[in-house]
Symmetry: C2
Subunit: 477 residues, 2 copies
């Protein structure tokens, strides 16, 4: 009897291999037919659908409307905004043949859609009455990356990209921050992941943006992962793509542009924040299966009936429940399978428990077992799931706090970063200082700017000039 | 004051122009940056989202799981199944450059994903325990078409494609027909469109399929529109792509393959079945705005308060409602705007009505006006919307019946087809006869096979041999 899935690498033995093992063995994805592309299998895609459902509701609260724009961008259009092109040109995939003939103009598969939205807005925007435009698109984008890892960096990934226009800089900046808060709450409410949130340094901001805001999470191996970004563009794109509208004073005006997005990279965050040596540990609110019922000695009197009854009750209550009655697999095999898949609760129903009208619930989060009267389980499950969510969030929060240190010199920064985690330091935000830190620490970058300000008179430990920000540094994915 | 949108062409003056006018003026779409590609704007995309929500629920009833597979197919993989390739090769868009270098192998943008699903199943299927596999994907596909029309034929469209594997031919055939029923009910329950459903002739079936089933609708101009298809492939794809599994008898077996899909073409059907000279007429269940409230003389005492109150009540009731309080537009302008957009109900609230605690509801479907006590409206609206849905379905059903004729000779067929609509005729199902009919009638095709059988001894009017089926013919989009 296979009691434990032996094929998975220990999390602290080889984190990278453990990660890939979990992605594959939990059947979240498979490697596709083209290098770097992946198949999003049902179990992985269902998690993404939960994220979509949450965000669609939250985005609608501030008037977001979903749209769909083309997969391809004419090369000439793509080349219009200089900084943006420079950011993406090295990794584009280009079509040159259509209907058996060479195309008049090559077409770029969208690596992101600023260009397409700008061109659409140029055509369709006419009056201040049309503003704000708060559009969002769920789609895939393609980036011809050399080194790829499932969900973290891929030739194609799924995401949402918001592209919005506003009359004033204030409205646009407000939108940028509003969405950042939604992303932060996505972590707190749904993924049980505590994010750091804040502005990116000028060096780390998005190609073409005036300001980039980010949510960053800490992975088990001590590396940071950028989990979502929200950008304020000012009127740069409006100028490059000639978007204008008739303003209130009857003059042509340029709208202010924002964009924001999260991607299937969030699946990578879930795996690397919560997972353990037995595989995936899913936060209950995104788990495609929240409860699995495993009948034990299922041919004995009443076991299947009781299992089926509980299944129906839980389903009626809106719980995502699965009854695994496959009699060609042992309970032990199933225990290990659903542990690997990170199912939050497993309910075992066997003849002995049944005699006493009891059932055993195993919590995936800590492996603990709890016995409950069978007829109270349905009522209790929602509260147990909520409690597990809170505990997972708190555990990740504690880990984040423990692994966030403070440095006051370059040497201290370098030393602390060796243990992984975030290190907070007062800083001048100059590009050259950031590059020096990166070099000295073997790759650490400024992840995001803290809300707090440096005490007056604090100097940047790199150049000795006045520090203007307090910044979180980390090695990152 | 603009009382009517003069820019729209009369429906019976120039149907094609009317169609394009409605697509653009109702802001369902805009022409994209690349010829043949379109932008799906919020108002059009929201209708598609309602279709998605309905189908996701229905598909789940028989165990469908959503996945996402890559956008691109390696050319060598694409070329494996001969008939399939021949069907799609002339209209593929091909990538040849990635990351600045010529690719080792060209990549085809998916025109459909049989090839990708087959390859994924080849890699991931191992045992009969894994069957059935009932996977579905929501995505866009690209077909390099020369002549394009919004929603009906485009270089890129949105669709769902189910790709399933079964142990037996019976299970696979059952799935094919089950999905056909779901599509039929989508028409009846959501779109208010009566479909003809049935098998396609062998000549008209999908490239590589053994049997193709279809739902067909009748457009206002008398042409048919294929609105959804469900295909039974047998084991052809399994063989071509070497999909196998360990069967119950411990032998390697080939699974039976089905695919099925509907696309944003359904938006075209909605427009052309229900629309009129004033623009779009939306079936209530897919309408992004089901009720629009237009305050009249909105600065007068109590008008805005009453409008706002009604808005909140309807929203609370789950109605998709909009309150248009823009005071730079006249009520007349708004009336015409929401007529163009096909909003099912318009509620006017003005000072005079308010005095009598009344409000006027205008029905888009027939332009009729009804006065109701203001405090009864919220309660009444759901039933009114349901009634409108039924009336729209019945109207389309009547039109379908009136325009479905019966022919007993080639001459009669040709004559009847001149008026548009479907013509039913006993037929031998031979390709050569079908081609003769197409030639003689100037393009009519076999749309689908009726359930009824020909009376014994009935001959095919083309070749004089025994008729085996009764078939609906029509000119089609």
């Amino acid at each position: 009897m296979k009691m434990k899935n032996e094929a998975i690498t220990g999390r602290d033995v080889d984190f990278a291999q453990w990660y890939t093992d979990v992605c594959r063995k939990a059947e979240l994805m498979d490697y596709g037919s083209v290098k770097g592309f992946i198949d999003y299998l049902p179990y992985g895609y269902a998690i993404w659908e939960e994220i979509q459902a949450y965000l669609n509701v939250r985005f609608k609260e501030f008037g977001t409307q979903n749209v769909y724009l083309p997969t391809v961008i004419p090369m000439s259009l793509f080349n219009k905004e200089k900084e943006h092109v420079e950011g993406f040109a090295p990794e584009i995939l280009v079509c040159t043949v259509g209907g058996g003939k060479k195309l008049d103009e090559p077409l770029v598969i969208r690596p992101t859609s600023e260009v397409l939205f700008s061109d659409m807005y140029r055509r369709t925007l006419s009056s201040y009455r049309d503003l704000p435009k708060i559009y969002n698109q769920w789609c895939s984008v393609v980036r011809w990356e050399k080194t790829t890892r499932p969900f973290l960096r891929g030739a194609e990934f799924l995401w949402q990209e918001g592209h919005c226009l506003f009359e004033t800089a204030e409205d646009a900046e407000k939108n940028t921050l509003q969405v950042l808060d939604v992303y932060y709450e996505l972590g707190k409410d749904l993924l049980a992941i505590p994010f750091l949130k804040g502005r990116k340094t000028q060096h780390e901001k998005f190609a073409g943006a005036m300001d980039t805001y980010t949510v960053e999470a800490l992975m088990h191996d001590g590396k940071a992962l950028q989990c979502g970004t929200s950008h304020y563009f000012g009127t740069g794109f409006s100028e490059a793509y000639e978007i204008s509208y008739q303003g209130r004073a009857n003059k042509l005006e340029r709208p202010y542009y924002t964009t924001w997005g999260v991607s299937t990279r969030l699946l990578g965050a879930i795996i690397m924040v919560h997972g353990d040596d037995n595989g995936l540990v899913l936060p209950p609110k995104v788990a495609p299966i929240q409860v699995v019922i495993v009948p034990v000695r299922q041919k004995e009197n009443g076991v299947m009936e009781a299992s089926q009854k509980l299944y129906e009750e839980l389903k009626k209550k809106g719980i995502r429940v699965k009854l695994d009655a496959d009699d060609t697999r042992t309970p032990g095999w199933k225990f290990s399978e659903y542990e690997m898949k990170g199912v939050p609760l497993r309910i075992e129903i066997g003849p002995r428990d049944l005699e006493n009208k009891l059932a055993t619930i195993s919590y995936r989060v800590d492996g603990s077992k709890h016995t409950y009267p069978l007829d109270e389980i349905t009522e209790k499950v929602p509260a147990i799931l909520e409690d597990i969510h809170q505990r997972m969030y708190q555990r990740a929060q504690n880990s984040l706090q423990e692994r966030t240190k403070e440095a006051h010199s370059l040497e201290e920064l370098n030393e602390l970063l060796k243990d992984g985690g975030f290190v907070k330091m007062a800083f001048c935000e100059k590009e050259e200082c950031e590059l020096k830190i990166k070099e000295l620490t073997g790759g650490a970058t400024a992840r995001c700017i803290a809300e707090e300000k440096p005490a007056p008179g604090t100097k940047c430990p790199v150049c000795g000039e006045e520090a203007t920000i307090v910044c979180y540094f980390a090695k990152a994915y």
